[in-house]
Amino acid sequence: MPTVAGWTCRRRADLSLRRWPDGWVLFDEAQGQLQCLTLVSGELLALLLRCPARGYWSSTELAQALMDETPSDADVASVEAVAVAFQSMQLIERCQV
């Protein structure tokens, strides 16, 4: 069986999000930090905070949920890039399934 990479957020209890017309604001209670996010990045993180029952999202699923249609390879790559950025901020983790 191939290993599938997915994304999961284990720090949901730490993170609060508010959406405004000009973007999202994220509060990370554990770090005591506020971050401004673009509308797309904020939508993506909001999805990640609503973890599906199986415990992770694939990049393709995230792109599809974000766009509400079948994503192109470029769309998936864009989502992957934002997810990697979130990973570097220690907001989410990559998981092997």
Partner: protein, 304 residues
């Protein structure tokens, strides 16, 4: 029985009580016990806190016990601020003693009051909605605040917004408006009969004087208000007064930067700030002339 106020005491009696055991002064929403042997402190309290309630000498609780005293082993021209006997600041000239008391009391609130979210901002109210003006020193915040108060807005505070994270309402803390340098004369010209405290010269901030809070603001000091506008003021020489809508996410970030203790309150603090932004119309405001500024504030539409 009517309550005793500072005005109930003769200047001599006030000075005597301040010098001996101190006074319990209700500065809503707090009670301060204040002690000082320095005459200029008594003068400032008599002039600026005449309408405020004095509590009985046997009052058992005060939120803060503060004093401004001549420093032991210091030249008598210097004074120190004490909180519970501790001296958090370096001594200042005796001529700055009243301003020192004001700064010290602000510091007590912002440093120790964490049941409320505190923001560095001027706060006023009109038609039941609260105007919050967060800004760094030098932005013209206090000058604008004084002018708005003299124009009929209710003063909640010149220095700090006290936001209740449970109710979302702003708690008033009306005290004298601190003005500096050229702003003093500008406001004196607009209100020739207004009451002022002692003028402190050559402070780190330049010349400082405090303008008495309006009696109507003090009378309504226990009425909290619902946030309605968040305005980020900036004094800029030679520009026409301009009020421009500001995006809300950016406003929330800026508001948080002006908070003293949002990090202490954690998620409750974040939610309280975000709720302020959700309820409020947000603007950037630049001005050079108060005569241009006041009509723009008078015409602010009530937020939906």
């Amino acid at each position: 029985m009517s309550q005793e106020t500072v005005a109930s005491l003769t200047p001599v009696e006030l000075e005597r009580r301040l010098k001996r055991d101190g006074i319990f002064l209700r500065l809503p929403p707090f009670v301060f016990k204040i002690q000082s042997p320095i005459p200029i402190v008594a003068q400032g309290i008599a002039e600026l806190y005449a309408d405020y309630e004095l509590l009985a000498d046997d009052t058992e609780f005060a939120d803060f016990h503060v004093s401004v005293v001549y420093g032991r082993r210091l030249p008598r021209r210097l004074c120190v601020f004490e909180l519970d006997g501790q001296r958090p600041f370096t001594p200042l000239a005796v001529g700055e003693a009243f301003a020192f008391l004001e700064w010290g009391m602000n510091w007590c609130v912002t440093g120790y009051c964490h049941t409320l979210l505190t923001l560095h901002a001027a706060v006023l109210e009109r038609h039941g909605r609260v105007l919050i003006m967060p800004a760094p020193p030098g932005s013209g915040k206090s000058t604008l605040c004084a002018a708005l108060m003299l124009d009929g807005w209710r003063l909640l505070s010149d220095e700090m917004a006290l936001l209740d994270p449970v109710t979302g309402l702003v708690t008033p803390a009306p005290r004298p408006v601190s003005l500096k340098n050229g702003s003093i004369e500008i406001i004196r010209r607009r209100a020739p009969t207004a009451s002022w405290g002692p003028t402190a010269h050559d402070t780190q901030k330049g010349t400082v004087a405090h303008l008495r809070a309006s009696s109507s603001s003090v009378a309504r000091a226990t009425e909290p208000g619902l946030p309605g506008w968040v305005v980020f003021p900036q004094y800029l020489a030679d520009v026409p007064a301009q009020l421009l809508p500001r995006p809300k996410a950016a406003s929330l970030m800026q508001l948080a930067q002006n908070s003293f203790n949002q990090h202490v309150l954690g998620k409750a603090g974040f939610d309280a700030l975000a709720d302020v932004i959700a309820r409020s119309d947000c603007y950037d405001f630049s001005y050079a002339q108060l005569d241009e500024a006041l009509p723009l504030f008078a015409a602010l539409p009530l937020p939906s």
